[in-house]
Amino acid sequence: MKAAVIVFPGSNCDRDVAVALERATGTAPAMVWHRNTDLPKVDLIVLPGGFSYGDYLRSGAMAAHSPIMRAVAERANAGVAVLGICNGFQILTEAGLLPGALMRNTGLHFICRDVHVKVENAQSAFTSRYAAGQVLRIPIAHADGNYRADAETVARLEGEGRVAFRYVTEGGEAAEASNPNGSLRNIAGVLNAKGNVLGLMPHPERVIEPALGGSDGAAFFTGMAEALG
């Protein structure tokens, strides 16, 4: 699998995700500066976490208009896998590549801690190494992760199996107490209609080896490497 990681001004998990990709595939991804207008030929495009443009105005809003995003949208429409983690998820919603919006956490604070998420859709290229219903422990680190969409959109997401991850208790229950940020229906990650674009708030790249406090994120990357060739 060949991957590209887009670097926006203010990205700060670009190196972390590159490390995780290289560990899973043996090859370092191409790091692509946001001002480029074209992308190398790749199987996966990653929009990393961080604070693109300082999260000023709205998280992800300015990055969504970066020159590179036109090329990203073209590839996404052509079926290339696109993954947005945290700020990358926010950018994908702002760019209209994923439905909904990520608003301020209900507690208003930035939250950095491990949460449990359930793999709701294990069919996608991103989640193929997980079993449906599997509960993972993965950290979140965000102030704007409160997923919102209108009722119709949410119904469609649920109906089409496009809710990829949900915040749950350790036992796998989507309870209010297990919802760290107020997201509708505990949604932690969503897929686009074709299933080739995924956005999620948790950071799988932060838990890829026991030394980091967990390795539940490792299969995310090995799974993609396998599924995307």
Partner: protein, 736 residues
């Protein structure tokens, strides 16, 4: 504007600028004439306590600052130590107390921004932040808002720049009601052969300004007399500095990108006193002169005077000297990162600083005499008489030990600070292998097996009761916290927060603490490589507790051998290393359970610290330890409870025969102690080896179950302790 001033008003202005009569006379002498407003402003900031260290210099000189692994000690932007593999760690701690009290969010945020710049200025990529916070009484009406703002500000800045905030401390005391302390520390990593310094060199080389534009931010407030600056007061009033972490992130990346070339001769961040101190320091260190054209300084506001441009404390700015001819290459990099870049001057051999503005010379002053003549004061010192010792027998035992423990764990100083660190991204960069909550945070050196252990410590109540002992203890505790993870302590940075040095009693505290710090540094081979002094933390004659914050850095060669505080298994033995005398003076037990702050602090036997610590580190490195924790605030009972809570399992303590009174054994804060969880099959051998080495060591219990007991009595559920310990801060913060 200045022409209208009479000589008399110039002297008055000097006084308003904070220059004493003698200092003003000296300034006139150095200039050989009456300094103008801009020049006076420069004198006042260069000779301010903050830039000149005039009250503290005499004593700072006495601190141990060298070791074979120290690459650069105090005097540069940050200290540098060798961490092997061709790499160095660059680190420093700095205060932002007053600005954080005025505007907690921005004050704390810009504090983080400032210390980050000190580190990446030297060519290091910042890899970790820590913070040491002191607030007033939780009951004080301002405290909650201050905590909330400071924590949000630290997180807001550090999270955005993408540097993990991995540790710190946070305590409360009424003596900080009118003066909170916000000390921020940054640690960076650089290649040993690519360290950047601030000494300018090369006549004719361009002096370059990069980063954000200059505005009227933070110009020494008290000096802005409207009589001097005319009627346009609103527009000219100095404004609070607002941090722009996004720009800082770009500045980090742009500077590191340029540093990968060999275009830079010298570089210095614009911190306190902005362009003034950075230009004086760079030219001064190189023994050169410098002429700048202030029209070329990027400005955010219109109509700024030379005085304002020179004294502005706008954030996210750097000054560099480039090799002649490399300007375009550098400009391209800063343009890529969308940052301002301007050649503002050139080096010359005159030894003078000349400033042009709107075609006029606004300042022309000699550099070396001004820096070298900066006043040094030998202020009167009244040594603190240590509080008298307090016999354990004179302190009443609690009716219910377990209840006392629970109360203590839920008291403001011992309560979990999770509410704070969860607002900090402590995992970004994906090398945090020991998260907040333990003795020291551990951050892997990227791509290697080795790791840095980091901690911030100080026990101000000890420093108040006996400055010398308190100074020793602060260093010893930092050293111990590093050791408890298995790390070899390398060096420390300090941030010395005290009251008004013009009061002999305050100087007494300062001198006492420094003496203790120096003793400990020497005994533990733990030199000071950088630091900061913050004086005048005092309101209406109430000074803060003497608070010399210590930031410690240690090295783990093999991070797989790292120890943590969490109990790992049932049926392990618990072993206490170090002697227990049952010292209750100035303890948390005394304060929280009996309401007294009496008594001398526990004595710190530095030889015992070293012996015991080296022994514990040896055991950890040899893989003989399942969990380890040092004993500090709250004593042994609290230490074991912390291990139990972290490991979510119980322990049965058995009090060794013939010891001190039970409450003194449980709650005494004797130093140089560690609790270790070890394999029961290895504990006998371990105790034997301790005995051979002359290390006090004793078995004090066994792990397992879900409760904590003492001699089979006082059962208390670990889950219950945990919820009390975790609840205090979030509950306090959610109250209106």
């Amino acid at each position: 504007m200045t022409a209208a001033l009479t000589l008399g008003s110039q002297a008055k202005l000097a006084a308003e600028f904070g220059l004493s009569t003698d200092e003003y006379a000296l300034a006139q002498q150095i200039m050989g004439r009456e300094p103008n407003v801009t020049e006076l402003g420069i004198f006042s900031v260069m000779w301010s306590e903050h830039c000149s260290y005039k009250s503290s210099k005499k004593y700072l000189r006495e601190l141990p600052t060298t070791a074979p692994w120290v690459v650069c000690g105090p005097g540069e932007n940050a200290g540098v130590v060798d961490i092997g593999g061709g790499r160095v760690a660059v680190f420093k701690m700095e205060s932002h107390n007053h600005p954080s009290y005025i505007e907690p969010f921005q004050g704390a945020a810009t504090g983080v921004g400032g210390i980050l710049r000190d580190v990446f200025t030297m060519g290091a990529r910042p890899v970790a932040n820590l913070n040491s916070l002191r607030f007033g009484s939780p009951d004080h009406p301002k405290t909650r808002r201050l905590v909330s703002g400071v924590v949000a500000g630290i997180g807001g800045y550090g999270n955005c720049v993408g540097v993990p905030t991995v540790g710190g401390e946070c305590t409360f005391h009424p003596r900080y009601n009118g003066n909170i302390l916000v000390n921020a520390m940054t640690v960076g990593i650089a290649d040993k052969d690519k360290i950047f310094y601030s000494k300018a060199a090369g006549i004719g080389n361009p002096v370059v300004y990069v980063g954000s534009k200059t505005g009227r931010d933070g110009i020494h407030g008290a000096t802005m007399a409207s009589a001097v600056f005319g009627a346009d007061a609103e527009a000219k009033r100095p404004t609070v500095q607002v941090g722009d972490p996004f720009t800082e992130k770009l500045l980090i990346e742009a500077c590191l990108e340029l540093m990968a070339t060999d275009a830079i001769v010298a570089i210095q961040d614009m911190g306190a006193a902005g362009l003034t101190s950075s230009s004086f320091e760079m030219a001064g260190k190189g023994g050169l002169g410098l002429e700048m054209n202030l029209d070329d300084v990027p400005q955010r506001e219109t109509g700024m005077s030379a005085y304002e441009i020179m004294l502005s404390e706008s954030q996210e700015r750097m000054l560099m000297v480039l090799h002649e001819g490399r300007e375009e290459e550098a400009r391209r990099i800063f343009a890529k990162w969308e940052l301002d870049f301007a050649v503002v001057g050139r080096l010359n051999n005159t030894g003078r600083l000349v400033l042009r503005h709107h075609g006029k010379i606004e300042a022309d002053m000699p550099i070396a005499p001004l820096s070298e003549a900066s006043p040094v004061y030998d202020r009167p010192v009244k040594r603190t008489a240590p509080k008298p010792a307090l016999a354990a027998a004179s302190v009443a035992a609690p009716a219910d030990y377990a209840k006392a423990l629970r109360t203590m764990l839920a008291s403001p100083d011992l309560a979990s600070k999770r509410w704070i660190w969860e607002q900090y991204d402590h995992m970004v960069m994906a090398d945090t292998i020991q998260r907040p909550g333990g003795d020291a945070a551990v951050v892997r050196i990227h791509g290697t097996k080795s790791a840095l252990a980091l901690t911030a410590d100080c026990t101000p109540r000890y420093c108040e009761a006996d400055p010398v002992m308190g100074g020793r203890q602060a260093v010893a505790e930092a050293w111990r916290n590093l050791t408890a993870t298995g790390a070899r302590p390398l060096a420390l940075t300090d941030c010395l927060n005290f009251g008004n040095p013009q009061r002999p009693e305050i100087m007494g505290q300062f001198v006492g603490c420094l003496e203790g710090i120096a003793d400990a540094c020497r005994a533990l081979d733990f030199p000071i490589v950088s630091g900061n002094v913050s004086l005048y933390n005092e309101t209406d004659n109430v000074a803060v507790l003497p608070t010399p914050s210590i930031g410690g850095l240690g090295l783990l060669d093999d991070s797989d051998k790292m120890a943590t505080v969490a109990l790992k298994a049932d049926a392990s033995d618990l072993v206490l290393i170090g002697a227990t005398a049952g010292h209750l003076g100035s303890s948390i037990f005394l304060r929280e359970i009996t309401g007294s702050e009496a008594g001398s602090p526990p004595p710190v036997d530095l030889a015992a610290e070293r012996r015991n610590g080296d022994f514990v580190r040896g055991l950890i490195t040899a893989g003989k330890v399942r969990a380890s924790h040092d004993v500090s605030d709250g004593g042994l009972y609290v230490a074991v409870a912390e291990m139990a809570m972290a490991g979510r399992r119980g322990a049965a303590l058995t009090v060794p025969a013939g010891t001190v009174p039970l409450h003194a054994w449980l709650f005494g804060e004797d130093q140089a102690r560690y609790v270790l969880e070890v394999d029961p099959n290895g504990s006998a051998a371990l105790l034997e080896s301790a005995q051979k080495a002359g290390i006090p060591a004793v078995r004090i219990g066994r792990t397992g179950g879900v409760t904590l007991t003492v001699n089979g009595d006082w059962p208390i559920s670990v889950a219950d302790l945990r919820s009390a310990h975790e609840a205090w801060l979030p509950e306090y913060m959610s109250r209106q």
